[in-house]
């Protein structure tokens, strides 16, 4: 009986450790994915001349940063997530939506005036 009890206890601690380890690693994984998203968006932002694609790329980079923040909120194993990064992400999403709206309105007007939604490379004089 003692032997079985001992084995059950060992198994429990092993599972506990695994859940804690998995939780930590999962949030680390999400954080790294956030960083990768940030990079992907940044690449498109610089490369693509089309305005709507640039705006989308900025949004993807933003999503990457928000994912990183949510992952940061989850870093404490075995406890409720940290509410402050969640509040930061909520604020960030609202700010991103506002900025995207203004950017799209500008892109629409540029499309009307120039016939194309692309920024020219030269510095206009």
């Amino acid at each position: 009986m003692d032997d079985r009890q001992q084995k059950t206890d060992e198994f429990k601690t092993l599972v506990d450790f695994e859940t804690k380890f998995n939780k930590m690693t999962i949030s680390l994984l999400y954080a790294l994915i956030g960083v990768v998203l940030l990079g992907m968006g940044l690449y498109r932002l610089v490369i693509d001349p089309h305005l709507v694609k640039k705006i989308l790329a900025l949004n993807i980079s933003g999503a990457g940063v928000f994912l990183f923040l949510v992952a940061v909120a989850d870093r404490i194993p075995g406890a409720a997530p940290d509410p402050v990064p969640h509040a930061m992400v909520l604020t960030g999403i609202v700010v991103a939506v506002s900025a995207t709206a203004v950017a799209l309105a500008l892109a629409c007007r540029i499309q009307e005036i120039k016939g194309t939604a692309e920024l020219s490379e030269n510095e206009p004089e």
Partner: protein, 485 residues
Amino acid sequence: MNLNDFLQPLTLPAWIVSLPLVAAGLSVALPKIGKPAAIFTAVATSMLVVMLGGEVLEHGTLQMQVGGWPAPLGISLHADGLSAAMLAIACLIAAVVTFYAASYFGPETSPPTFWPLWLFLWAALNALFLSSDIFNLYVTLELLGLSAVSLVALSRSAEALPAAMRYLLVSLTGSLSYLTGVALLYAANGTLDLNTLAAAEPGSPSISTAFALMASGLIIKSALFPMHFWLPPAHANAPAPVSAALSALVVKGSFYILMRLWLTLFEPLINPGTANLIGLMAAIAIFWGSVQALLAKRLKLLVAYSTVAQIGYIFLVFPLTSMPAAGQTAWQGGLYFVLSHACAKAAVFLAAGNVIYSVGHDRISELKGIVRRLPVSMFAFALAGVSLIGLPPSGGFIAKWLYLNAALTAGQWWWAVLILFGGLLSTAYVFRFFSRAFSYSTDTVAGRPVPWIMEWTAFVLASCTMILGLTAPEVIQLFTAGQPF
């Protein structure tokens, strides 16, 4: 219940932030009261900022916890000499330009959304200079950037819209970089409050990466070479009062945050290499901006490129302070540059706006003898030009003097050479316009008369650069109150 009950010193920062916000909200709800609300805000906020300045001079740093929650749980509003000085200059310029704009937009030509956007810009500046929380600074940066972009795009012309779009994309990239830095700092230290962060132990690689990210974002937003490409089209194609506010104040906002972060958090981490890299970019900015100003065909473009060059000067503060021998002199010089450039550049843009108002264009080659049409504006331009070149008794001279002192004390004479040479270049581009404006010309320059408010507001700002030069000891006493440096 008298005024004193309302205006306890601790509530001053909250009033200074709230007043423009209330005015902005009201002017959206009732568009007709936009102009009166702005003028009331100009007068009331000026009085509040003067009171705050007095408080800071007497009692040192003023700290207020929003919501009564102690940091790091809540957000603190922090007013030391540096914030008070920045608030004072922002208030002065915003108030004067408000009066200019009230006259610039006649009853028929006034865009219905100018006043709410203008008031949001002002609120953003006030909130930025008073905040002491890195995430709150991000929100104020976004508020500032979006209002600036919308103001640039106001005229909806074929030049202004792409300039505004470029400005917006660059601004958002800078904010994103800053936000990533904030996220890293929070992940590493568990707090968003500047003072708590300063007390935390430095040294993990995350702090350096966070610094690199935040500094890059702020440098992008302050248009330091090579991230300056968005500035000339945006500032040159905006309406005159907007250009004045943009060059004088908006680019200084992100610079102020960088200065604050440097002073509070990052100074121990900076190796001379980083500081000298910033110095190199600043040096190229001074050259490139001055050369492009010499080549510019339009007056507003000349002035915008001059801003690029002057921002190079302002960023020289970082390499100059990295040497301990220089001490406080370099910081004082940098801040003096910020203050006098703000006044001078705003005055010059207002004068350029008067030129456009009068003759309908600003092509320099066709502005011979404009002084006979706009004597007050040209005199304002002259005074401001003296400050930009750095001649006594202007504020620009004091700034360069402090810089030269710092450079020579630390034995790094090459910065001194750069500053003096830059002064020669500024003289060249200022005189390029001057010689035309003041030249003798037999043909009369046709144009309509400019309202006196518009000419005299330009003059008031230009004379402020002289006042800054003459009252240097008092000004330095103000912005070193509370020992920010």
